[in-house]
Amino acid sequence: ILEESIPSMVFEPFLIAPYDLEQYRMMVGTLDTSRTKNRDDEALYVTYLKALSEAVSKIDITYHHSLLNNIFAVRIWYLQRDTMVALLDLITRLAAVADQYLRECLQMLVNNFTPPIVERNEVPTWAVSRKKDIFSHLCGSLKTISDTVPLAPRMLRDIIDRSMPKLFDNKAKMISFVECMLGLDTDRMGDLIGAILLAKVVDLLTELDVNITWEDILQEEHDKGIFEMELEDLDADDDGDGFGQAGTKVCLGGNACAEKLDGLMVVVCEHLKSLDRQRLYKEFVILKTIFRASLLRVHRSKFAQFIMFYTCSLDPKTLGEGFAVFLTDIVTEKKEDPISRMSAVSYVGSYLSRARFISADTVVTILKKLVDWCVDYCDHQSKREATPIPNHQLFYATCQAVMYVLCFRLRSIMDYPNLKSDLFHMPFGFLFRHRLEPLKVCLPSIVNEFLRQAKDAGLVAAFVDPAAEDAIESDLSRTFGGINRLDMFFPFDPYLLKESDRYIRPNFEFWSMVKTTYSDDTDDDDDELEDLDAPEMNVGSLDDHVEIDINSDDDDLEYSMNKMSITPHHSFLHQMAMDSDGGLSMPARIRPSTSPPS
């Protein structure tokens, strides 16, 4: 009876019978969700909702104002499941009726992307368990609306844009919103607005990223001296539970932005993982565009770029190689702007070194392109007068990237005869003997390590001046930029965010795991345990299963190896190294076998 009487009541002109008005008021009251309901009320509520769904055409925006208010203010997280389904059905019908309700309906749904927050900024546990169900219903409703009103996604896009969480919002809300948002990135809706949604997410990631400061990361316990602060805390070791790693991570935990970024990276990675092949390719293309437009040009972004790393790892053959080629094309393309090119070359170098899933022949192909470019550049230069060094920034950066990659990869390339011969045919001699003198300008640590490995491999003849070999930093090198010099940017340095680390770690190549060309000579396992101050300790001979970390000791070589990573206090420590006699005795560090709770 109720069902039939309601439609007639809803159709309300100005003057109506008092009985009807009373009924109407009662209905509006029941629909007010701010009051708790008992069982009967709940059933009545559902009935009202269903009846209203049938009568949507008669709802008028001015007369039924309070009714509409009550409907749009509902927080569906608090509703029972059946009620929620009925309510969402009502909303979708309202949206289809006429344009006037569309915006409110969409806004109401988007408002419900975030769960209610109670006490101490936490999401209540019951909300967490219902999350998936609620999200799927919300996305389902949005999709139904977009099916019925095909132009709705445009409006939805604007609404999401406005409702997007900001930098300082609550972490749980942020993560919940993004998770639900990415749930829309499927099928038709994904085709229409997927790119925009991804772009917004990446913007948010980038914003969080640049707000994490290095001081937060390096903030250690104060009783430790500067040298006890292990540089390779930044270059994580095999044993993920090593003290240094946990210590760093604990300190990162104090930084709210880092936590939020961590949570969001988990959400994004999960989303990427859930995509099927076809969708993944589409997303990859979109991500490349977004990357090029924003991430590539961010000065020293720390972790956000790892979404590209993770995406590529999902399909190494196509995506992994594709990304490398994409970056190389930016480097060699004359029309690109200089900042993008410099940044791209840093990315190439770091990417090829650190991505385990990239095959050796891809590496050699890319190296060939880069070396060819360098040689062309040299040829071009030979025809002109000598110009000051900063103008050759890109050239030096490229040489450095090539050397950096070879430090990591030379040994594995040598294992393939055809690749080895390709590599040996590259005109390194010409490059390094050129009057531009890349060896003197590039980072000494990289140059030294490269020369050492290359000599062992026989790649580079011993033409290099021995005195130059041990140069810590030549004047040329130092004038080349200063502290914020671009070529010290290694984008894919070890990942430091705790939760999302598990997505990156399996594919990441740590320096301590790299086999170098000279590691065959002194392959002595006993060395790892004793005499940790020995100068010529072989970093490269570590096997993966070695628990005890011996990176702590070797002086210049190891020390300079740590410069393979981003070291913000680089210049400071550098200074120290130069002042002391070239020998730092790092205290021995044995990792405790149990890591402190993080």
Partner: protein, 233 residues
């Protein structure tokens, strides 16, 4: 589809100097921002466009904003539904009180209960529900059916939402109409659609030539019918 029409417009598109290398692309992109929105000056929704450039004149606009204006002639396809037009759409959602359809895959149309003839009864059973006509049980409107309806009102504010009506004759499920409605059947078999007389239409009213004598009899009745309707409104 009556509401579709082609129009030619002479426009000046303002292009930022950074796009000077590829003006054609810039103009195309600029016009594309107008796609699928209702434009007052075109009096319709832009569906597609094609540009022709006139000469090489590019005037630099002085002042604070140095965009340059490119005069183009654009051929545009517009969708401008007017009341009384007959449109066709695919039914997407049904309810006791309303039928929701999609026109041209892009525009949403809703037909409310008041505008659905009494003879259609709603049956909830079955996938999504359906409307069955009492007079002919084969006349069924359900999800996925193509229907013809007349336009009652167009809301140009947001997405060009159309409110329609199934009351006028020759409306309903197209499949049924093509078999049972003589006039509609003749219309589609002759291959010509009779354009309506619209005040804002740029089309000329075509002459009524038909191949077959039978049709011509039907056609001769037509002007009377439409006149009647106009009077009756």
């Amino acid at each position: 589809m009556e509401a579709l029409r082609e129009a030619t417009a002479e426009l000046t598109v303002y292009v930022h100097p950074s796009n000077a290398a590829d003006v054609r692309l810039a103009v195309s992109r600029q016009l594309s921002t107008l796609l699928f929105s209702y434009e007052d000056r075109f009096d319709g929704v832009l569906l597609s466009h094609e540009v022709e450039f006139e000469g090489d004149n590019e005037d630099v606009l002085d002042g604070l904003v140095p965009y340059f204006g490119v005069p183009v002639t654009a051929n545009m396809l517009l969708f401008s539904p007017q009341p009384e037009m007959i449109l066709e759409g695919k039914v997407e959602m049904l309810g006791k009180e309303s039928i929701h359809a999609i026109v041209l895959g892009v525009f949403s149309a809703a037909i409310m209960a008041d505008d659905i003839p009494e003879m259609f009864k709603f049956k909830r059973r079955g996938h999504g529900g359906k409307f069955i006509s009492q007079s002919d049980k084969r006349h069924v409107i359900k999800k996925g059916s193509m229907i013809r309806f007349s336009v009652k009102r167009v809301d140009t504010e947001m997405n060009c939402h159309i409110t329609g009506s199934l009351m006028p004759p020759h409306t309903g499920c197209m499949r049924w109409l093509s078999v049972h409605d003589a006039e509609y059947a003749s219309e589609i078999s002759s291959g010509k659609r009779k354009p309506r007389d619209h005040t804002k239409s740029e089309q000329k009213v075509q002459g009524r030539t038909t191949a077959n004598r039978e049709d011509s009899m039907v056609n001769s009745e037509r002007p009377r019918k439409s006149r009647k309707r106009a009077v009756g409104e």
